[in-house]
């Protein structure tokens, strides 16, 4: 079974600075998807970024980018120019390609952006 590990339960960063959240996963599959979801205090789960494992190019979405290292099974999220609205729980998630589209989540990293 796949597992997802987020080794940083909590992190903090100053507004306008850059922060990197770590995620590692374990799988024997070669084709899969990886996601970062954000959960602000409102509790709503919001997709931040998506990566397809067969694509070597790292995904980017505005201030959010990933460092995808397939061989190392690592999928870190970099947030540039941090904003107060980035304060949230961040979850890394894994999905096998094909089949039931189930997500396996890490336990999350609580990020606080300080003014």
């Amino acid at each position: 079974a796949q597992t997802v590990t987020q080794s940083q339960p909590e992190m903090s960063v100053q507004e306008a600075e850059t922060v990197t959240l770590s995620c590692t996963y374990d799988t024997s599959e070669s084709n899969y998807y990886l996601f970062w979801y954000k959960q602000p205090p409102s509790r709503q789960m919001i997709l931040v970024i998506r990566q397809e494992a067969y694509k070597q190019q790292n995904a980017t979405e505005n201030r959010f980018s990933v460092n995808f290292q397939k061989a190392a099974k690592s999928f870190s999220l970099k947030i540039s120019d941090s904003q107060l609205g980035d304060t949230a729980m961040y979850f890394c998630a894994f999905m096998s390609q094909g089949g039931s589209e189930k997500l396996v989540f890490g336990k999350g990293t609580k990020l606080t952006v300080n003014p």
Partner: protein, 114 residues
């Protein structure tokens, strides 16, 4: 667009009571899921469905039942609630390749079992 709608948003039950959580999606998605979120545990899959009339067990299915009689609805039932089922419950739907394999979540239901 409503997306994924969960009802109710909050509920308090006494031990042994039953209830049903309703999830409705208007995106014509084939796949639907129920998760529970507990502090420090992330989201864990309870049950899921890969299409109308189908259901399957996830990681933590005990004490829950589900039904998917209509494609747009996915119901989660607790027949005899226990304090261990106090949690926040999330429903999600996914259209597979048509939605780039992205799961869309409802706003969650906070359930307390006393």
């Amino acid at each position: 667009n409503a997306g994924v709608t969960q009802t109710p948003k909050f509920r308090v039950l006494k031990t042994g009571q039953s209830m049903t959580l309703l999830c409705a999606q208007d995106m014509n998605h084939e796949y639907m899921y129920w998760y529970r979120q507990d502090p420090g545990m992330g989201l864990r899959l309870i049950h899921y469905s890969v299409g109308e009339g189908t259901t399957a067990k996830g990681e933590v299915p005990d004490g829950y039942n589900v039904s998917r009689l209509k494609k747009q609805n996915f119901l989660l039932g607790l027949e005899s609630a226990a304090p261990s089922q106090t949690s926040v419950y999330f429903c999600a739907s996914d259209g597979g390749r048509t939605s780039k394999n992205i799961q869309y979540f409802g706003a969650g239901t906070r359930l307390s079992v006393l």
